[in-house]
Symmetry: C2
Subunit: 367 residues, 2 copies
């Protein structure tokens, strides 16, 4: 293999495939990036067996076709620090990779491309299409409440529910539910799959923030493929049935509170300071006619916060893990939110003032 390409462009694509490169593995080939130069152009591939990424063809002058796998960490570090515009990459029959740029020359031992695991085949016929930035936001706004332990494997992923016109993402960790909904630009009918949390967290690092760029999703029984234009990402799906979350959201409530989101986050953050471990020390909400008091107490001391809110319905006293509330509120872009309470031991729901683009359910704690 021998080719010449632009350093900046190469680095940009390395950063994309790096998201699918394994950090520590017993299989050294998975720590590599596969470089392929053939009739289709110059392409990079990363694959940790759960998740694979293959770039689109990178603009390059291919002088000799070929394929080689090179350790991702060193390849990235070298290219990042090169001082020059054009990089020449060539290999010899022993898979030594020579990288030349400006007055620098590196020779790094690579591995044969044949040892590199191929990405799963996913047919790209019928797509669900939406804006990359919309998908990026939906993931960011739900991923914090996926389960951290493996007790229920389905909960370590997020449910993608496709409908004819829209699409929703749901995560559940046993204490709370995060739900986001968005329109689809193109649909290919009803379907639902569970996508691993790790896939979504890596995907979110490469999804575009521009409203111009679209992403197409292709689904099979075992895999999902995200086509970003610059690259495709293929991930295994989590098998099993997701929990039936819909029934947890009740339409009934006794108290509705309209609150300034930032004010509430700040008050909760301050109140939770008096507990060393805010998973265990609850904060207490006392909702009165015109305001809400947030209090916390531990062996360290006490905190008292007061915020003015609009209240409709009954006064109520209820306690929560402040972190769950803070994470949900932080993920919301709107300035104001509605919160529905039913009883001291019933979950509360955070809703938009208008529309149905999100709903967050949080279980209370006993006081």
């Amino acid at each position: 293999m021998k080719l010449i390409c632009k350093k900046d462009l190469l680095l940009q694509y390395i950063n994309i495939v790096n998201k699918a490169v394994s950090n520590r593995t017993t299989l050294p080939i998975l720590e590599c990036i596969l470089l392929t130069a053939d009739d289709k152009g110059f392409v990079l591939t990363g694959n940790d067996l759960e998740l694979g990424i293959k770039t689109a063809a990178i603009e390059a002058d291919i002088l000799e076709k070929g394929e080689v796998a090179i350790e991702a960490r060193i390849f990235n570090e070298i290219v990042r620090r090169l001082n020059g515009e054009d990089v020449t990459i060539s290999t010899n029959e022993k898979n030594a990779v020579t990288i030349v740029c400006g007055s620098s020359e590196f020779s790094i031992m690579g591995q044969g491309g044949d040892d590199f695991p191929a990405l799963p085949e996913v047919e790209q016929n019928q797509a669900y299409t939406l804006k990359q930035n919309d998908l990026r936001n939906m993931i960011r706004q739900t991923i914090f409440s996926i389960a951290q332990d493996n007790a229920k494997p389905v909960l370590t992923g997020e449910l993608f529910e496709f409908h004819d016109e829209f699409f929703n993402i749901v995560s559940v960790d046993g204490y709370r539910i995060s739900y986001r909904k968005n329109n689809l630009i193109q649909s290919c009918g009803k379907n639902d799959v569970i996508v691993p949390g790790k896939t979504l967290s890596e995907l979110n690092k490469i999804l575009s923030q521009s409203d111009e760029d679209l992403v197409s999703l292709y689904v099979t029984d075992k895999h999902i493929l995200f086509d970003l234009g610059t690259a495709i990402m293929v991930s295994r799906l989590i098998e099993g049935d997701f929990i039936r979350y819909e029934q947890s959201f009740s339409e009934d409530f006794k108290t509705e509170v309209l609150v300034d989101k930032n004010q509430m986050i700040q008050s909760l953050e301050r109140a939770s300071l008096v507990s060393r471990d805010n998973r265990k020390t609850p904060v207490r909400f006392q909702i009165k006619t015109k305001n809400m008091e947030i209090t916390a107490k531990s062996d360290m001391g006490t905190a008292f916060e007061e915020i003015s809110v609009e209240v409709e319905g009954e006064e109520i006293s209820i306690a929560f893990n402040p972190r769950y509330f803070i994470e949900a509120l932080r993920s919301i872009d709107e300035e104001n939110v509605k919160i529905h309470f039913t009883a001291s031991l019933s979950p509360c729901t955070i809703l938009p003032v208008e529309g149905d683009s999100f709903k967050y359910l949080i279980l209370p704690l006993r006081m």
Copy 2:
């Protein structure tokens, strides 16, 4: 105690005394900040027994005198997150500290001020005075080569050598020597002391970057006091004799190289990429008539770098730990430096093109 002060001002002073607060200790009082309100004003003190900081009087409306010690971490977190201009701090007879600001109210258990260890007494008669920014730079430019282990305790600190007109700081870790020199605005005669590295690293975080601000140093047998105007810092000194570093710097050399500092740092950084642990894999310099080749080799591969330099004297081949070279060069503000070489197994010296404001000595490695 009861007083009212500005939140922003209080936070600024908390950040200063925090540098002397112990992070983990078996003596909980050392994790506290002492608040004192008396005839001299409102003052904060931190003291981890090695190092103590006492602020100047903080503008405050003192309604009732008193003293209390409060855990630094929680005090800092609370004040930082308060939403309001004025903070009211008061204590009761049980040392509970009440902090009120805006619609927040905290009550935190404190400890009696009597339990807080007093700072060592250092007479402030005869001072060495220089610009805070000059001292800050001198520390930054030498602190990286203090010894990391306790085999020779004197080497875990830096030597301060005071003269009538100037002052120099030296650090030695057994493989290299860093030396910086600066004028004194005021001196009180020759003296030398060894200041603990930890003191200097904390001091550097609070020294001003403005050329307006001066620092005065007061020295006793056991302690050094830095008066920054906004606060005083008192530290114990390290007892013992520093090593006689001067004799290691030789005036003789066989090769003088004039090099672009940034170009050399970048080449060294790239070359050291091929070694997984650059403490062990040396980089080799080959100095020729008009250029310098930097090469490195490990089981991972090879790196070759070429930089143009001005050379006077003999060609030479010599190997170094690249990290030692990079750290010394990075600490230098000048664009170009001179490097003196004598032989493959003799130390080299990095010098300014003009003047004598610094010298760095680095031992070579066997190839």
